[in-house]
Structure formats: C-alpha cells, structure tokens
Symmetry: C2
Subunit: 386 residues, 2 copies
DNA sequence: AGACTTTTTTCACTTAATGAAATAAGATGG
DNA sequence: CCATCTTATTTCATTAAGTGAAAAAAGTCT
C-alpha cells in the first residue's frame, strides 16, 4: 500500500534521486546536480555535505573552468563500504566480497553436504567469516549480505516461499542467516539479483526498464520497470521456466522452456544427436560449434531461433527499453545467439529493443552482492532483515 | 526522469493517496482516513476541507456512535463534475457524457465519412457540442475529454504515433481536438483506456496490478502495475496482436493472435465451417453456441483453450493480481470462456490469479471518459493537452 | 592588481506536517 | 435533565526541509 509522504520521506526520495544520478552519470558538480534534480543549489549543498560526512560521496578533481570558479566534481565513493554476495547452488555456496560497485575484492566457496536450511545458513556463515574474519570491520564497513537463490522469494520478509530446486517451503532464510552474521541480510531470486546488478552497473544502468532472460540450469527471466524489479503479485513474475506452448493449432504438444532450452537440456539434445549419428565420436558441443560442425551449428541455431520466437512474445507484451540475455548457455556463442537475435528482428511487432548479451563466470554471486548495495540507491524497504 | 520531491509534490501525493483511498473504500471518517494514510488528524482536517471547498468531496451521513461523538463520513462527490469519453471507430465516433464514476449521463454517435485527422477532430467537436451545448457549463463543470483509439499513443504529448487501423503516423490528435473544444484532452490506446476504467471502478479497483486481455476487433492487452498503466518504452506494451507463435519445434507455423482469435476471425472460422458442412443452413455462431450446437461448441472450445494457453505465458511472465478479459467476443459466452479458464488452470506454473470476465456494450467510450477522470486520482501528468 | 565570471554557501523566509491541547458532539447513568 | 464520560475533529505552537537572494569563494582575463 502506498503511504504518505512527509518531509522525512521527501528528503529520502531526493537523496535517492541524487545518488542514482551520480551512479548513472559518474561525477557531477553541485551545480549540475541541482540542475538535473531540480533541487536548489542550497538544498544540494546540504544534501552533499551529509553524504560526504557519511562517507558515500567524495569530492573529485575540479574540471575546466569556463571563466570563473572551477566546479568541484562530486562522485560516489565506491570503496567506502563492502558488501557480500552469496549464491546458493545445490552443492555449494559461492561467496564474493565486493565494493559498492560490485567489483570483487575476494571470493570463496563453501561446500554443502545437503540443502537443509540450517546447513545452508551455517555454510553461509562460514563464507562470510572467511571473507571478513574481523567482526569489528564487519559491523563498521560491511553494509550487508545479499543471498541469491532460485525460487519464489518474499523479499520483504526474507522468506523463501517455494524453491523446487532446494525443496524449500516458507523458509525464513534471511533471519536464519542474520542471526549468525549480525549484519542485515537480503534474499532474492537469483535472476532478480542478476537483473539488479545489471540495473545498477550493467547494461540497464541508464535505462528505466529491462527484460532479462537467463538461459542456465533453468530458464528464467526478470523484469525491471521504473528502475525497480517487478516481482508480481505472488513473487512469481518472470517464472517462465514452465511456460507451456500450445503450438498453434496443436494444443497437445507442450514444450517446456526449461526442458528444451536450458543449458543441460541443450547438452542432452547434443548427446542424443551424437548417439544416433553412428560412427562419430562424441565431441563437446561448445567445441563443435566453435569449429563450425554443421550438426552443432544446426542444433544451436534451431534452439536459438525458438528462444528468439518466444522472446518476441515477451517483448511485445512488456515493451522493454533493453533486453539482456545471460546464463551459462551463453558459452555456446554466436551459433546460439545470432539466430536468436535474427528471429527477434524478424518477428517483432515493431523495431525490437537492443539485445545485449552479458555473461561471465561468478556473476551470480556479484548479483547477490548487488542485493545489499541496491539498498543504498533505493529508498524502499531499506531495512532488510537484521 | 524521476524528479525531486518538494513540499508541493508531497502535498499532491498525499492528496492523491486520500482520494484513491476514498475511491477504493467508499466513505471514511476523517479519523479513519488519518489512520489509513498515516497522516495526522490535523493534516487530514486541512486536506479534507480543501477538497470539500473544491467540490470533490462531500460529508455523508454520520454512522453509528461507539459511545462518543459520531464519526462524520467523507465521500467522493462523483456528481460534482462531468467527463466526456470519445471512442474512435473506423466509421464513427462514439461519445458519452459521464459523471466522475464513469456512470453514463448521455450518449451520442457521430458518423465519420473518412478517417482523416481533421474529419475525426471535427466529428469529435460535434459530439462534445451535442453532449454539452452550453459552453459556460463546459468550462465550469467539464473536467476534460478522453479520446480512446487503437494504436501506439504518446500520451504525454497527446500524439498518435502509429495507428494501422486509421493509417495515422505521428498525428497530434489531442491538440487538434483541444483547439476546438477548449477543454483539456487526453488520448490513449483504447485497451489502456478500458484498463484504466477497470482500475478506477472495475475489477481492478482494489488491486494494484492487473493483466487485461481484449478479444475484439483485434486482440490486445494492457498491463497495470502499482495502479498505473505500463506503457512500455515505445508505448507498445500489450501489443500482442501480432505475436508470433513458433509452435514448439515447428518454427514454420506462425499463428497470429488477431488472425485466429479476434471476434471477426472467430466468425470467419465459423463461416468456413458452415460452408464445408454441406446441407446445413448457416446459423449465427452465438445462437448456435447458446443452443449447444456441437460444432459451435467445439470451435469455440478449441479457440478458448488456445487463448488460455497463451494467457498462461503472459501470466507467468508478469504475475498479475487479477486477469480481466473483455472484448466483443465475450458474447460467445461460456463455450469460449470456460475452456479458456480451464486451460489457464491446467497449465499455470502456480495457482493462477482470478480471471474476471467484464464486458458490456458502450464500455469503450466509458473507458475513454475514464482517461480524463483518472487525472483526478493521479497526480502525474495532470495537465493533459489544453 | 582590479574587474569579471562562475560556483558554492549562508540566511531569512515559506510551507506542510506534527503532537498536544482544546473543542465539539453524542452516550450514559443517577 | 444535568454531570460525566467517550470519541471525533479542530486549533495552535513547533519542527523540518526546501527556496530565493545575497554573500563569499575561487577562479580567469586584461
């Protein structure tokens, strides 16, 4: 429910406005900041000095004078604090310590013997301990811990409503972990976490809406509108992994996104292909595609096209400013991606939005770290679970 | 771009908050209003007396005392002002005069000899004139005119970017009309207008998100998030009419939503069916379905199921609080609707949101009227094109 | 060095909300 | 029927955040 706006919230909103402007545009003088926010110079003076006092902003170099006093650049001090990101996998917790720009400073991995909530919380505690052993430093400079996992997450209460992959049902994982690490903890769906990182410092940085598609262990998506994750009425927005497809007039053929398009599914299809074409010794799909193997190129092309066709439906529905595609399947390269983009261009209602491919290893845990960092740039639910 | 919040905008936001609370909940006492908005009693006293002075609120009957002074109910005075809605059709302009609750007070239709912007503007002027001949009354009590039409509309500038059905391209229809009627004019896509009406006083009244699906002359949709229409980066959100469908593994079969699912397309399929089944004299599809004709029930069932299957993809992506289905095809009744709902239930990822069917004749122009009314409940772009 | 220019800060003022106290209006009970 | 209690609404002094104008700071240019 929307709530009243008093002077306190108004101030917080203006603070967020200025911070996000600096995040998107880099260094700005106080005067530019005033012009771009619409606030008076006087107000900016006060706001900036508060933020400098808190350590989030620093004065940069003065730039060119235009015949008078040089403007003093003000910029975000990304090194001022740390954040920790934890990505839950079925067999391990991947952890990373980053600065406020999600730049990794250290990383570690803790193995999981099982996926019981207590086991996961204990492994997470160990990971945090390894990354910042000094508990004083933790309370001083660590802004919090972000936890990313597959499933439907109630981010406000820090509860995992449903995670099929972990077999969880209403697990208050944020508070379980917060009890152990004594810093604020935020949980979110892993694809949402990736999308937030893209929004803060990635391809969606200067855009207000985005559609994120992940082709990894499963297939999932995330939506950003007005610079905010759209989570849906039951935290299920973007859960396209199980979308059925009636196949035109043939309603009896249902193709499951994850079943055909996930990275494991693609590998499986390659294995089946290799098994049937006798005499050929099995080669890795990625290598085969890179060396131009016709069967591999054909398989990936067909899958890419089909993904593209489904992407068109999503684009036409929400009309995002940009589409960002990531996930482990990106490693299959152009053979998969180009036909996908081609299909989007061919079948879109209008000229489609730009499609950006962005993926690298360890990006999951950086996304998790962005969950905590986002709270600096975003005024809503700035409390986490502590 | 988001902008600063000063005391003026804060006040406007609080005013909006109170108005929307009253719209959703009906009459409330000042005390309840204070409790639900989070504002102090003192602030509510001031706010309410301003709104009463302006004529938008009135005091209602005092309710039951609970042992002390009776609370005085405050409610919206829907009769305080008028709004006019214009729905552009290819051969006519349908117009309705409503109160602030979109309740029709009078209606008229003006024929169009062609769809040139000037012709449309002139016909619209005539319609307004017929509904309120007295120009003094217009400037006093008419809050504005809402114009609904198919196509991509830049609502901020009142420009129709593209309308295939009218052959328009960047037509500043709002200012063309505003010049003639001398009241504020707002234009929007017709499906968006319908959705806004549903949000203000229909099935989405107490919800903050909704997915609206229209099966009419074409097939279109609208999205409401946070009580606001989601228009997309190029005003193209919801334009699913041309969505392609790769049909599972068979990428060569493309079924176009509008081509198979629009009301004319359904009629066409019935006509084809009647033509092939020799000896049978043609019966109207709606009548055939109502009388339980197996072929009609079968045809509508198959179409309904296919629509349902596609709806699942949309629901899984955006996870709306409610789905609202409307459009001229609703007249085909349960034979079409029930299989659609069945399919949604069968193939959804989670328990699907409630699906509400809401349609009646002349609803298009009431939706148009809601475009102007919405500006009272919504603080953004409250200026229109004047 | 003195005259401009441009940026940033200072300060008196305005506005909208707040909490506490006052007032209004009805209920209750002898 | 009057005194007292209860609940609803209004009044008022106070507070917080932003504004515009003027002052101060920090340059450039001749």
């Amino acid at each position: 429910m929307a709530l009243k706006v008093d002077q306190g919230t108004a101030k917080a909103l203006n603070r967020r406005l200025a911070l996000n402007l600096l995040r998107r545009e880099g260094g700005l003088s106080r005067g530019e900041l005033a012009a771009k926010t619409g606030l008076s110079n006087a107000a900016i003076t006060g706001l900036v000095s508060e933020l400098i006092e808190e350590g989030f902003l620093k004065e940069g170099e003065s730039t060119q004078s235009t015949g008078g006093r040089k403007p003093v650049l003000v910029e975000l001090d990304y090194a001022a604090r740390y954040s920790i990101g934890l990505k839950l996998m079925s067999d391990r917790v991947e952890a990373v310590l980053t600065d406020l720009s999600t730049e990794p400073l250290a990383a570690t991995v803790v193995a999981l013997s099982n996926v019981e909530p207590e086991t996961v919380a204990e492994a997470s505690r160990q990971a945090v301990q390894q990354l910042i052993p000094d508990s004083d430093l933790r309370s001083e400079k660590l802004i919090g811990v972000g936890l990313a996992m597959p499933g439907l997450i109630d981010v406000e209460h820090g509860v995992c409503r449903i995670s099929h992959r972990f077999g969880w049902h209403n697990v208050p994982i944020a508070s379980l972990l917060a009890e152990q690490v004594h810093v604020p903890v935020w949980v979110d769906n892993d694809v949402n976490a990736f999308a937030i990182a893209q929004q803060l410092f990635g391809a969606a940085r200067r855009r207000s809406s985005a559609l994120v598609l992940i082709i990894g262990t499963g297939v999932g998506s995330a939506l950003i509108f007005h610079g905010q994750i759209h989570r849906g009425a039951r935290f299920a927005a973007g859960e396209i992994g199980f979308a059925v497809d009636g196949g035109g007039l043939k309603t009896d053929t249902f193709a499951n996104w994850s079943h055909r398009f996930s990275e494991p599914a693609i590998e499986r299809q390659w294995a089946e292909l290799c098994a049937t074409s006798a005499g050929q010794k099995p080669v890795k799909l990625q290598e085969a595609a890179e060396s131009g193997d016709p069967q591999a190129v054909e398989l990936l092309g067909s899958i890419g096209r089909d993904i593209g066709i489904r992407l068109v439906g999503m684009i036409d529905l929400v009309d995002p400013e940009v589409v960002i595609v990531g996930g482990e399947a990106i490693r299959f390269g152009k053979a998969l991606i180009d036909p996908m983009i081609e299909a989007v261009k061919q079948y879109s209602f209008e000229v489609p939005p730009p499609i950006e491919i962005d993926w690298e290893n360890n990006i999951w845990s950086r996304g998790a770290s962005a969950l905590a960092i986002q709270k600096f740039f975003d005024f809503e639910s700035a409390d986490g679970v502590a």
